[in-house]
């Protein structure tokens, strides 16, 4: 098997917090031992709710801040061991697109300066060359350079601003784009336009993606493989089709059941998940989902379920996974 483009091993990220009085508040276990691979040309979707640690995980990949422990190997180099200039150089092939385009574009800069900044920062080419590259990039993301290069972010719509952020992200020909809720703030018609742009860049530039979002259908649309995250841990990973058609983890099932469907025959959600996610400062022992899980038993509190492969690269961290339809998998689920 070929070497993965990005490989995260047991990534842990924790933050010390203080309570309102300023005294010791505890340690938020934002990411607790996350392991995954992204192959070249592949899109890994990460779904999770607020507080699941998916954004923290994304930032840990970027070493901003560096994870507390674990390794992040990108193009054969362990980023967690690099410092300063070496880290910068390794990171130019890994770029980010954030949720709020207006928050990530300097309001006082014009589009041309915004898109050419990474070229300048990495000392790529002459001024004339940069100018030509900016025009090329704006064309690539579907903005007419003559109309938009001289504008300020406030003169753009949300969708246009996100296109500018994407143009900036691909300016240095990265091999991996990490998108953190990159289309969540856009209206549905504009969202479809931007999703298609991501697909176009994938096929034209051979990009790989880590696509983080809370919207399951959206993640399925863009991903080859999907990872479901809950309270700092991955609970299920696998090929998109398999995870959505035959979810193995009860949490994945609950997430899928919560999606409003566009056919009214489906009516109201069948099962709604009870209660609230526990605090990441004192997560439950064993399986972190057990406090809300309909299948939880004593074992779930005592032992942390390990990720195991139930066939076809479909892995789950659950003592009592839901049954797969194939009879071969049924034997493995009998605990």
């Amino acid at each position: 098997m070929t070497e993965p483009l990005l490989s995260a091993r047991d990534v842990v990220q924790e933050f010390a917090v203080r309570d309102s009085g300023g005294s010791w508040g505890g340690v938020v276990q934002a990411v607790s031992g996350v392991t995954f691979d992204v192959m070249a040309g592949e899109t890994l979707g990460i779904v999770g709710e607020t507080g699941s640690g998916k954004s923290t995980l994304a930032r840990s990949l970027l070493q901003a801040p560096r994870p507390k422990s674990g390794t992040v190997t990108f193009r054969g180099t362990d980023l967690t061991r690099l410092r300063g200039r070496k880290l910068l150089r390794a990171r130019r092939h890994m770029q980010f697109v954030f949720q709020d385009p207006f928050g990530s574009l300097d309001p006082r800069w014009r589009v041309r300066s915004i898109v050419s900044e990474p070229l300048l920062a990495y000392g790529d080419g002459s001024a004339g060359h940069r100018q030509a590259r900016v025009d090329e990039l704006l064309d690539l993301v579907g903005l007419d350079p003559a109309r938009y290069a001289g504008r300020h972010p406030r003169e753009l719509s949300g969708g246009q601003a996100q296109r500018v952020a994407i143009a900036r992200a691909v300016a240095l020909n990265p091999s991996l784009l990490i998108c953190d809720e990159a289309v969540s703030s856009l209206d549905v018609l504009i969202q479809a336009q931007v999703l298609n742009l991501f697909e176009k860049l994938r096929s034209e530039l051979g990009l790989s993606y880590v696509f983080i979002a809370h919207d399951l259908a959206l993640v399925k649309q863009v991903s080859d493989r999907v990872a479901v995250m809950y309270l700092g841990r991955l609970c299920e990973t696998g090929p998109g089709e398999a995870v959505y058609k035959t979810p193995l983890h009860p949490y994945t099932r609950a997430l899928l059941d919560s999606i409003p469907a566009t056919d009214p025959g489906a009516g109201r959600a069948t099962t709604t998940l009870r209660g609230e996610p526990p605090s990441p400062i004192s997560p439950p022992s064993g399986c972190r989902f057990r406090t809300r899980c309909p299948r939880a038993a004593d074992l779930c509190a005592e032992q942390t379920p390990q990720m195991r492969d139930l066939g076809g690269g479909h892995t789950v961290a659950c003592h009592f996974p839901l049954e797969k339809k194939e009879p071969s998998a049924l034997k493995e689920t009998a605990v």
């Binding site: 209206d187 549905v188 298609n196 649309q221 609230e276």
Partner: protein, 338 residues
């Protein structure tokens, strides 16, 4: 239908004067809400869905020019003086907003905020208001209501805060609740919890619910009647079952486009979504014809010249289009770009 309507909105128009221009946010909107009904108002940013509802509630700034009529149980709300409007607002109709954190006072205990809402509208003692606030917390399924009474908003999660906001809105058992993107800021599992709660409460209190949303999926799952807005006008209206049924009858191409743009679980990964190019028109310079014409694949000259009126072409189903999609055809017809 109209004589039994709880809320009857007729030719509602809202414009804002800004920098010498007049921005027409709502351009002649008419709909009615029957008691106990769930109406979904669907549209993108700037379609006028929120402005319409705020106009009905009398919550627009003084720069807004509001025309038309909105009658709640026969009482005309548009142009009603503020003190009188205040009697209706809260008691007869209430509104829940998108961001529960901003709807609550961060420095005040949640129980007191609910009790305050009770005492604003009714002459009850503090002790009675407190008891009622705890009862309201119980009504919105808040665990341990007595303990939660003394907590501050920052101690609660987003879903719990939205429950508090709903409790405040229900303090006077209104007959009409307007939920403006009330679940948009929440996670999908929390959204399902809050929607279930709203529908349960609607049954318990025999209340009409108007849900404003950008999410057609939410409308399909929870609403009985759906109104789709574009550029300040209603472009299609039908019962949800009729609009989204297996042999669905979406006739307006804009509604069709909204449906097609929703990522679908059945669609294979990496297949391009059908998209509509462009973006909504400038509300300060609306075209004389159909506002969607520039983005519509089926647009012809007549679309650009005259705006089609919203008319009831099929019993219960209204649309505003010169060249509607064929009936019963819910297949995609958006443009798939190469």
């Amino acid at each position: 239908m109209s004589e039994e309507a709880l809320l009857e909105v007729t030719d509602l128009r809202v414009a804002f004067a800004a920098g010498g221009q007049e921005i027409s946010a709502v351009n002649g909107v008419s709909f009615s809400v029957r008691p106990g009904e769930t109406l979904a108002v669907i549209g993108e940013s700037g379609s006028g869905k929120t402005v319409s509802c705020r106009a009905i509630m009398g919550l627009l700034p003084s720069t807004a020019i509001v025309k038309g009529s909105a009658r709640l149980r026969g009482t005309e709300l548009i142009g009603l003086p503020e003190p009188e409007l205040r009697r209706h607002r809260g008691a007869q109709m209430a509104m829940v907003f998108q961001d529960p954190a901003r709807s609550l006072n961060p420095t005040m205990r949640i129980g007191q905020q609910i009790a305050e809402a009770v005492r604003t509208h009714r002459d009850v003692s503090k002790a009675e208001a407190r008891a009622e606030a705890i009862e309201l917390l119980r009504l919105v399924r808040m665990p341990l209501p007595e303990r939660r009474f003394g907590e501050y908003p920052h101690q609660l999660s987003g879903g719990m805060r939205q429950r508090v906001v709903i409790a405040i809105a229900l303090a006077c058992k209104p007959k009409l609740l307007i939920a403006d993107e009330a679940t948009t800021a929440l996670d999908v599992t929390t959204q399902a919890q809050i929607m279930e709660l709203l529908l349960d409460l609607q049954d318990e209190l025999d209340m009409a619910l108007v849900m404003i949303s950008h999410d057609l999926g939410l409308a399909a799952s929870y609403a009985s009647e759906v109104v789709v807005m574009y550029a300040g006008k209603i472009v299609e209206q039908a019962p949800a079952g009729q609009l989204f049924g297996a042999r669905g009858a979406v006739r307006m191409r804009y509604t069709r486009a909204l449906l097609d743009a929703i990522p679908d679980m059945e669609r294979a990964a990496h297949t391009p979504l059908p998209v509509v190019a462009g973006r909504p028109p400038d509300l300060a310079a609306l075209p004389p014809g159909c506002a969607f014409a520039d983005r519509c694949a089926a647009a012809e000259d007549d679309c650009r010249e005259t705006a089609p009126d919203l008319a009831e072409h099929v019993p219960g189903h209204r649309w505003a289009c010169w060249h509607p999609c064929a009936a019963g055809d819910n297949s995609e017809n958006g443009d798939i770009p190469s």
